[in-house]
């Protein structure tokens, strides 16, 4: 069902846990549907210096959280905002069709965390995201 990469990221999730000094936090999903992701970012000089997640959900939800955080860590905010759910799924060597929504959630989680960062900075995130 799951690729080896998915299982690896599920069994040994990268960047798991809360980030004490996060300056942006994104919450996506809802418990009714069975998947919730909380993404913590620490952004400095337009760079994602650190990132972590907490996830309630299935194997794919954990693995996409792990992979997505890995993919944007150390990247510029602009680069991070370009992360697509397809890229996350591909980096995991694919996901079962029924699990593609998890990769969407991961993409959304990253965006939500960055958005929160902008809000805290007093910047209208809509303007940034539109670029």
């Amino acid at each position: 069902m799951y690729s080896e990469k998915v299982m690896d990221h599920f069994n040994n999730p990268r960047n798991v846990g809360a980030l004490e000094d996060a300056n942006g936090i994104g919450h996506v999903g809802n418990s009714t549907c069975g998947d919730i992701m909380k993404i913590y970012v620490k952004i400095e000089d337009d760079i994602i210096k650190d990132i972590s997640f907490k996830t309630f959900g299935c194997g794919a939800a954990v693995a996409t959280s792990s992979m997505a955080t890995e993919m944007v860590k150390g990247k510029t905010v602009r680069e991070a905002l370009k992360l697509s759910n397809k890229a996350v799924a591909e980096a995991l060597d694919g996901l079962p069709p029924a699990k593609m929504h998890c990769s969407v959630l991961a993409e959304e989680g990253i965006k939500a965390a960055i958005e929160d960062y902008f809000k805290r900075q007093g910047i209208d995130p809509a303007a940034v995201l539109k670029e």
Binding site: M7, F10, N11, P13, V16, G17, A18, H27, S31, T32, C33, G34, D35, I36, M37, K38, K54, T55, F56, G57, C58, G59, A60, A61, V62, A98, K99
Partner: protein, 394 residues
């Protein structure tokens, strides 16, 4: 991985060694077609009829009331569709429950599309139906009552004898999906006044892909498959002789060991339940007492079932969950919702199902391995953080 603890016997069981031994001749030298007249065919026929007699004796019915099918699903589909067709002139109302397996539920849904009306009896938080509610639900045009004998998900046992008596009194056909019950708890078609009963071999250590429908003598069901007139014309097709022989051997074995098995398995189950209920924010699903000997089913709050199943697999433990992710749909199991669990709690379901092959060491092993898995997933869960801190997540 050092050891395997198989605790998903409600999904399927390993094949009994005795049953396999009985099957082997029919997978090798005894390959005759039972419909033929020469001795190779006659001995296959004899083996098949011998098997049918064993199955009948396990259910307390007559051999000519047993019709072989390819499994529980075929038996359920055949029984329910047939009852609906046979009785349509009397009425189109069917009574069932919210606990049914999809093999029953989706067959009922297809009948609803064809103009039948189905009342699904609700259950209390332990999964028990109310016989009074059943009585009040019966109408002039009620033609069939179909109730699962014991729930595959939460283990609760239904009052089959009482339902049978009521149905017989009212002249309504009674079908029970006894796939989880047969071979595990006493089932007697005569005493329980059952008209139609479905069973599936691989749930009691028989082979996969074989099952049976008990049809009470005198009921004239329409043919399920047309062809060479096997199974007295009702279910054609060259017989799976090895499968039939294996099913009968496994059932005979299960029934003759049933008393001991029930004692042994339910003791293990109770130890498992007691041990796991020590984990905070954990609930047993299903009735604590009135449940299948092997069934230990739970919800663990703030975590998701598939994750548990995957991490248990890493530890060599096979288990299952009724979470949305496990079911492949967006909703968690209809049964978990029916016993009143909120969606987010139902997602955290885990079913451990034991049988006579499990050992006390298996229970120890699960009790050792599962709690740290729950902790690990809760540590990762934003819902748990919220629950513990008392702060809402957003």
């Amino acid at each position: 991985m050092t050891r395997i603890v198989y605790a998903d016997n409600a999904a399927t069981t390993s094949l009994s060694r005795h049953a396999l031994e009985e099957m082997m001749p029919y997978l090798t030298k005894e390959y005759g077609n039972p419909s033929t007249v020469y001795s190779l065919g006659r001995s296959a026929k004899k083996a098949m009829e011998n098997a049918r007699a064993k199955i009948a004796s396990a259910l307390g019915c007559r051999p000519d009331e047993i019709f072989i099918t390819s499994g529980g699903t075929e038996a359920d589909n055949w029984a329910i569709r047939s009852a609906a067709i046979m009785k349509k002139d009397k009425g189109k109302h069917i009574i069932s429950t919210v606990l049914e397996h999809h093999a029953v539920l989706h067959t009922l849904k297809s009948l609803e599309k064809a103009g039948y009306e189905v009342t699904y009896l609700g259950v209390d938080s332990a999964g028990n139906i109310s016989l009074d509610e059943l009585k009040n639900t019966i109408r002039q045009d009620t033609i069939l009552i179909t109730v699962i004998a014991a729930s595959n998900e939460i283990g609760t046992i239904m009052p089959i004898a009482e339902i049978g008596a009521l149905a017989r009194e009212k002249g309504i056909l009674f079908h029970t999906d006894a796939v989880q019950a047969v071979g595990h708890i006493p089932v007697n078609t005569e005493e329980m006044k059952i008209d139609l009963l479905s069973l599936s071999a691989h749930k009691f250590k028989g082979p996969k892909g074989i099952g049976a429908l008990y049809i009470k003598k005198g009921l004239r069901l329409p043919s399920n498959m047309y062809g060479g007139a096997q199974e007295r014309g009702l279910r054609s097709g060259t017989e799976n002789v090895a499968g039939i022989v294996g099913m009968a051997a496994a059932l005979e074995e299960a029934v003759s060991n049933m008393d001991n098995n029930i004692k042994k398995i339910s003791a293990m189950r109770d130890r498992l339940i007691d041990g796991l209920l020590k984990i905070p924010y954990t609930r047993l699903t299903g009735d604590p007492v009135n449940r299948l000997p092997g069934s230990a089913s739970f919800v663990f709050e703030c975590i998701e079932g598939e994750s548990m199943v995957l991490l248990l697999d890493q530890a060599g433990i096979c288990a299952s969950s009724g979470s949305a992710c496990s079911s492949g749909s967006l909703d968690p199991s209809h049964v978990l919702l029916a016993i009143g669990l909120p969606h987010e709690v139902a997602h955290g379901s885990l079913r451990l199902s034991l049988n006579e092959d499990n050992t006390e060491e298996d229970v120890d092993y699960i009790l050792e391995k599962l709690p740290p898995i729950i902790s690990r997933l809760r540590d990762m869960s934003p819902l748990w953080e919220e629950k513990i801190s008392g702060k809402p997540i957003k």
